[in-house]
């Protein structure tokens, strides 16, 4: 079990995240350059936990104004009306429009919050060196990585709604102050996923196997 289940780090090998080449740093060093593609190599992404936490906390902070402040302001002859993301979902809800309302609800409200919670769980469990549910955790990481970009959908909805409805004085739509916070949530969670090194999920397992060898 242990002989075959060893990580590259335990053999002193670094694998290049750009070209995939396996190489060994000079004796006594823990960084170097990939001899094939020239990429700076380290055993694990630099300060992965700290950077991921930083982006995640920034995303969580922006999440509140993103949902409280209006993302669109509609001006008609009768007055002004501001909508938050949730109000936008409610407006879309109609006998014909409900599938789109669900898409926006999932992409704008559920995915960002689920992503923040999922990344926090991955960070905490990996920092504690947990070896439980490793396969489920790596699957969770891949799902978070895959679906993250779809949260941008509401930014595009608001962009093109505002760009098109410019029929002054009849009706016009302008982007609201919540939009930048919402975009920030999406960008910060994407950067958090990029900074997280999935190999950290398994490092606890590797140490466990070594100490019990």
């Amino acid at each position: 079990m242990t002989a075959q289940h060893l990580s590259a780090i335990e053999h002193g090998f670094q694998s290049c995240e750009v070209c995939g080449l396996l190489s060994r740093p000079a004796p006594g060093r823990d960084d170097g350059q990939c001899p094939r593609c020239g990429q700076e190599l380290e055993f694990r992404k630099r300060a992965s936990f700290e950077r991921t936490w930083a982006f995640l906390i920034a995303a969580a902070v922006c999440y509140i104004p993103a949902n409280v402040l209006p993302v669109l302001t509609t001006t008609t002859a009768t007055g002004r009306d501001s909508d938050t993301i949730m109000q936008g979902v409610v407006l879309l809800w109609s006998p014909t429009g409900w599938p789109l309302a669900i898409i926006v609800l999932v992409a704008s409200i559920m995915i960002p919050s689920a992503k923040i919670l999922a990344l926090a769980y991955l960070l905490i469990s990996s920092q504690r060196g947990s070896i439980r549910n490793n396969r489920q955790r790596i699957r969770l990481y891949r799902v978070v990585d895959f679906i993250g970009r779809w949260s941008m959908v509401d930014v595009f909805v608001d962009t093109f709604t505002a760009a098109l409805i410019q029929l002054q004085p009849l009706m016009s739509v302008e982007p609201g102050p919540g939009l930048i916070f919402f975009a920030a949530v999406v960008v910060f969670t994407m950067l958090a996923v990029e900074s997280f090194d999935p190999r950290l999920i398994w490092d606890g397992a590797a140490l466990h196997e070594v100490t019990h060898a």
Binding site: H5, C34, P35, C37, T159, A162
Partner: protein
Amino acid sequence: MFNQPAPDSSVLACPHCDLLQRLPQLAPGASARCPRCARELRRRRVDSFNRTLALAVAGTLLYVIANTVPMLSLTIVGRDASTTVFGGAQHLWENGQPIVGILVLLTAVIAPAAQLFCMLAITIGSRRSSVPQWVGTLMRHYPTTRTWSMIEVMLLGVLVALIKIADYATVIPGVALFVLVALVFVLAGMQASFDPHEIWQRIEWADEDRTRGTKPMATGETA
């Protein structure tokens, strides 16, 4: 300072769990997965170069069309309005949301262009038997352009906006909208036919003492 390459080039570590393993010989079209975390480690593509280049050229043409003609037009009580992808970003820039405007421009215009440019240059540059280092530099940045290129997400957003606006006005989908749908499929096909490992095997090494890549392996095996 350059690292010492592993003596056996078929041994690699899984990028998702760091498990050391030996990669089996793969037939064209076959793929290998990590036994511990099931991450796909390598997939050999059939006729990768020609297909990727053809799709990159097609994608570039579609991209140019998609960004020059209107995407959505609208008619309401005798008044018309239309917008392009660029126009959407520009409107945000001019209406108090410059940062979101830049983000839209980046994800819907700049990143897809960079993605197509990288792929064109990579496929053309790697036609030589010995692939120059600059191709490797482009291949390092290619995944970033892919992460931030969000045409498919934008299309879903446009669809939602279209149906929202349809309540107030008559919306006419423009040519660019259909071209963008085609572009999404072309980009997906380009990605699916691209085989980076095939190029890495032929690239000139950054560590010039080990040029041609095969040398360190050969000496390692005979030693």
